[in-house]
């Protein structure tokens, strides 16, 4: 793998391309963009794991906002389930982000590697 610009100067267009590819696969497969964008940043641009995770989270905001507006209306949302999950998730997101802010590269890489294997499994199981 080439580390195109090592996430430094001149890597802007690569990041934009990653946004398009991440969004494309996300829309195509109905999976979160982060699962695609993080490995692309890490393996293609050589972005540090933590920076890639943080960029991915922030990039998910506009993507999911549009997705909610477009598909949220078409699909039937279970409001009670959404509310209960959100209550837990916003608490968890603070903890997770706190862990991310302090975590070092190696455990993050391990964690994300395992996550991808589980994501692959879930993708097949879910069908």
């Amino acid at each position: 793998m080439t580390t195109a610009a090592a996430g430094g100067r001149g890597s802007g267009p690569y990041y934009l391309a990653i946004g398009v590819i991440g969004g494309l696969l996300s829309g195509l497969l109905g999976i979160g963009g982060g699962t695609v964008m993080v490995p692309l940043m890490v393996l293609w641009l050589g972005t540090a794991q933590r920076e890639a995770h943080a960029l991915s989270l922030a990039a998910i905001i506009p993507i999911s906002l549009v997705a909610v507006l477009v598909y949220g209306q078409a699909g039937k949302v279970d409001p009670l389930a959404a509310l209960a999950l959100t209550l837990g998730a916003i608490f968890g997101a603070r903890m997770g982000a706190g862990l991310l802010a302090k975590a070092s590269e190696r455990p993050l890489k391990f964690a994300f590697g395992f996550f991808l294997l589980i994501a692959a499994l879930l993708l097949v199981v879910e069908g």
Binding site: G32, A58, S64, G92, R94, G96, S104
Partner: protein, 145 residues
């Protein structure tokens, strides 16, 4: 939908999914959709729509927290995200014309390969993670006897 016991399970699952999402930099839909389908009994469409509604506040809260820690470059992330919208709309349109099942299996294979590569890369890194690997090691016991 039954009230309290299921709600408690949902909140607890939200905590778990939100923590992993914040740590791993993903939305968390990949955990929530199978859970909502298999454990809660929603249809695939209901589960995806519901999960999308949860991903947005999760990403907002995690990003706000990371922003305060000075970890995230918001303008770069916004550019990625705006390009992501274009890709996402194109992907959703394409999905109507492509065999979803085959794509999913291909993608699962790709994720497995990438996941194994990341695990191998992590294994090769020095345990501290901070030090460059090619640092010359000076013997610590070079003191004269």
């Amino acid at each position: 939908m039954e009230l309290s016991p299921l709600l408690i399970v949902l909140v607890a699952f939200g905590v778990m999914s939100g923590t992993l999402a914040g740590l791993l930099g993903v939305g968390g839909g990949i955990f929530m959709v199978p859970f909502l389908v298999l454990a809660v009994g929603l249809t695939q469409q209901e589960a995806q729509a519901t999960s999308l509604l949860v991903v947005l506040p999760t990403a907002l809260v995690a990003t706000w927290s990371l922003y305060r820690s000075g970890v995230v470059d918001l303008s770069k992330a916004l550019k990625i995200g705006l390009c992501g919208i274009v890709g996402s709309v194109a992907g959703a349109a394409l999905a109507l014309h492509l065999p979803g099942q085959v794509l999913k299996i291909c993608f699962a294979v790709l994720l497995t390969v990438v996941g194994l590569k990341l695990l191998r890369d992590a294994k090769r890194m020095p345990p501290t993670g901070a030090r460059p690997p090619a640092e010359p090691t000076v013997p610590a016991d070079s003191v004269e006897p």
